[in-house]
Subunit: 187 residues, 2 copies
């Protein structure tokens, strides 16, 4: 079962939210995640990243799978709610789905200037998390070599936000729209 | 660099807390995590798990690495602070390091009765998180076939707690004690 089959067979729709917790972001299917990791690794490889950067927790499975294939380390930004006092690069993010503000943080000692950073996450929707990771990498003096996502929600505008920042975007699958509660994927 | 070398060379100590965020639970080193995954997979294999179960976020890297080698799916329990209303198996946990109460949850649809569940986490200290995962698996009608950790803190009592529950424990490395700010590992 590849990702496309998994989405079409097992994703459930609740309003605007596409739930993929049976194979991607709660229970992780071994065949789906290896396929996703291979596709992300193939897209990243020519761009020669030194490290992959994601945000906890649901970014971790695809990042771990791609990083293993590339033989690279990966960093996962921590998320915190409430005041911070850690020695880190940090950005505030408001989450419309969760209705809260949270902060993504990367410790300064793990991001070295001049590193080539590939950004990975499970979903690209509005692009807030990915843009925060771009900010953090650039503040650290790193070069962002591109961003890869398991599932892009085309209508949410994240691709435009990242492209404006000169960050190329790859998505393994793209949700064009939701029609009568059914997910319609791009060809 | 294997885990033992990584701990002895790169772990930092702050009071009782051993920080391994340079290679295990913030930046993940590709050689360390593959070695850890292989050792956990080797210990798990004869016990024939159907699925590995961990908690977000820092349990994910070792679980993903071991699950890939075993060719198994994995489930990561979500952590929430505040009231819950999701259709899930849940347990409350108080975290002495973080000073908060939080809840670990697993959706009912991902844990099927009679499954053989192997529990994995990065640290075994007091064993609260692992015991909550055991509770959740047993409430779901599953059999816990053992628990594996990257680093055990021997003085914190988690092994006894799990052994009392008839859950066998494996740790890749064991911290015997901290002596003058230096980590002392078991042989």
């Amino acid at each position: 079962m590849n990702l496309r089959e998994a989405i079409l067979t097992h994703a459930t729709v609740d309003g605007d939210i596409v739930k993929v917790d049976g194979f991607l972001n709660h229970r992780v299917d071994p065949v789906v995640i290896e396929g996703v990791g291979a596709q992300i690794a193939a897209w990243m490889e020519d761009r020669q990243p030194d490290v992959l950067l994601t945000a906890e927790a649901s970014g971790l499975p695809p990042t771990a799978a791609a990083a293993r294939i590339l033989g690279l380390p990966y960093i996962y930004a921590k998320k915190y709610v409430g005041p911070g006092e850690r020695y880190s690069f940090a950005r505030e993010i408001s989450s419309p789905t969760k209705g809260i503000e949270y902060r993504v943080e990367v410790a300064r000692h793990v991001l070295t200037p001049t590193m080539r950073v590939g950004i990975v996450d499970d979903f690209l929707a509005g692009g807030r998390t990915a843009a925060a990771l771009v900010d953090i990498a650039e503040e650290a003096g790193c070069t962002v070599i591109g961003s890869a996502f398991v599932i892009e929600k085309a209508a949410a505008g994240g691709r435009a936000l990242l492209t404006q920042r000169n960050v190329d975007v790859f998505a393994v699958e793209t949700i064009e729209r939701i029609e009568n509660g059914i997910v319609v994927l791009a060809d």
